[in-house]
């Protein structure tokens, strides 16, 4: 048995069989170096025999374990918790707001902008949506009426004035006010030239009416429409077409005279060539007569019946009334209804937001799980 063999056996001395033990001891008896190694190993294994762990150590350890067990779970400072909650809420609300942004951008193209665009007196272009109150609404009746009709004076019979006006109203009782408008127009002898009904944002309705109102009734109609809804904007223009009209009329008379003359000449025509030439001239003159007559009639129509473009917008519960005529209770009710409606909208936007980020959340969670599994495996190795 070699020394190396013996060293290997020494590692498992307790589990040697009888023969191995005998061979080992025979070698140790004759080999001082291996005997030395065996003795050192024996001493090493028995190094701590008879030694005891100090009682103080044991006691201190138990004390620390008891403290550890009784120590409350470390709570992160309250403020951190509230900050975490606030951060989560901010993310949720921010994400929800962004999720609803496309809807709000659609809103920006809606009638309130149109209202501002056409206002003659710009201050009149206020809309409740912007939280302002139309200065118009606050103005006394008389000045309102005066301001409202820029062409309040009667045109002289010789003057040919084409009046057009544009009126934008907002109302919560859309259907009722629509009927009221139609009834008013009919009462005043006007007519609806065109109507366009459409759905606005949030399924709110809008109505574009082109009304033809007898010019003498225009101011009265406009004043009456104030009671229909709430005025958003108003503008009016008056175009003096007198010169054009009389010029056209003069040309018409000229053409009539010409026609009469041509008819006379036609009666006296003797040759075929003269007949053809005269009929050709008559034809051209008739064409001019017809054209001028038509144009004059058109101008007459426009002068006699003013054009009133009416835009009627349905108000949503979101829009609180800025009307001074509403009492405090009504305003509170409106505000609460708007807040509730807004909350419902927020919940809807929240669901949309969560649905949109769900795929990303799944990917992130899966990634975190994989990383944790890898780290756990490395730790176990």
């Amino acid at each position: 048995m070699t020394c190396e063999h013996v060293r290997a056996l020494l590692d498992t001395r307790e589990s040697l069989d009888a023969q191995q033990q005998r061979l080992l001891e025979e070698h140790l008896a004759s080999c001082l170096s291996c005997r030395f190694d065996a003795r050192v190993l024996q001493d090493a294994r028995a190094l701590d025999e008879g030694e005891e762990v100090p009682f103080a150590f044991t006691q201190a350890l138990r004390q620390r374990i008891t403290q550890e067990e009784e120590a409350p779970v470390k709570q992160s400072p309250r403020i951190l918790k509230w900050l975490a909650v606030a951060a989560c809420l901010a993310i949720l609300v921010g994400g929800t707001y962004l999720a609803g942004e496309p809807r709000r951008q659609a809103v920006s193209a809606s009638p309130p902008e149109k209202a501002l665009g056409n206002a003659t007196t710009y201050a009149e272009g206020y809309d409740a949506n912007f939280g302002g109150q139309a200065p118009w609404a606050a103005m006394p009746e008389s000045s309102v009426a005066a301001d409202r009709s820029l062409m309040a004076r009667e045109a002289s019979p010789q003057e040919k004035i084409i009046r057009t006006a544009r009126l934008e109203l907002s109302t919560r009782s859309f259907d009722k006010d629509y009927e009221n408008v139609l009834a008013l127009v009919k009462e005043k002898g006007g007519r609806v030239e065109s109507a366009n009904l459409y759905n606005n944002y949030n399924d709110l309705r809008g109505l574009n009416l082109t009304l033809r109102i007898p010019v003498k009734q225009l101011d009265s109609v406009i004043a009456s429409l104030k009671g229909v809804g709430r005025l958003v904007s108003f503008n009016e223009s008056a175009r003096d077409v007198s010169e054009q009209y009389y010029d056209m009329d003069a040309r018409l008379q000229t053409q009539k005279t010409k026609m009469a003359r041509l008819q006379e000449l036609l009666q006296k025509a003797e040759s075929v060539e003269d007949l053809i030439a005269l009929e050709d001239s008559i034809s051209n003159t008739q064409y001019e007569l017809d054209r001028l007559t038509g144009s004059l009639k058109g101008l007459d129509s426009q002068v006699e019946d003013a054009t009133l473009d009416l835009v009627l917008n349905e108000l949503s519960p979101l829009e609180t009334s800025q009307d001074q005529q509403e009492g405090l209770v009504e305003r509170i009710k409106s505000g609460m209804a708007a807040a509730f409606h807004g909350f419902i909208q927020l919940l809807g936007d929240l669901v949309v937001f969560l649905s949109v980020i769900l795929p990303y959340l799944i990917v992130v969670v899966a990634f975190i799980i994989i990383i944790r599994l890898i780290m756990k495996r490395r730790k176990n190795k």
Binding site: R35, F36, V40, V53, E68
Partner: protein, 193 residues
Amino acid sequence: MTLKTKPKAARFEELIAPLEKKVYFTCLHLMGKREDAEDCAQEALLKAYQKLDSFDGKSQFSTWLYTLVTRVCLDALRKRRDVFSLDALQEQGFEPEDQQMEAYLLLEEKERKAALKEALKELPVDFRAALVLVDLQGLKYQEAAQALDIPEGTAKSRVARARGMLKKILLTRRELFTGEGRLNDERRNRHDL
């Protein structure tokens, strides 16, 4: 009540009862100083308590515990800037003389053990750790390798080299023996085997 359903402290007590002494003396032999050893032992056992729930049972509890203990002690030794790597020169050119070995063998057990404890402190830390786990604590090579986070072959190699270094220290550093290396004539002829 099974072990798992017992309160944590009770479970821990049951698990470390047979190992507390081993842990203490492992730390003692690794650190060399009693105060440092007690600090490391406390820290290791407390960590074991704190991480008890994370012990998944895939290895033996003793192996898991020795891993913690070794890690704590080696970290402390690193901070203490103890020697970690072998000074190769220490191994070279040593041939034990018979007289030296005989003299050692004639010492009393108490003196040998005292010399052994002192000699252990001289070993570089990584070799000391391997030797303490295998020869003093009786771990198998595989368990010691796991505790030291090294391959089994490396563990065997370190143990072998540590034994060689220990031998050299014991035979060349006579001041480690009680009585400052002076042999007692009355014990000269005693055979301890």
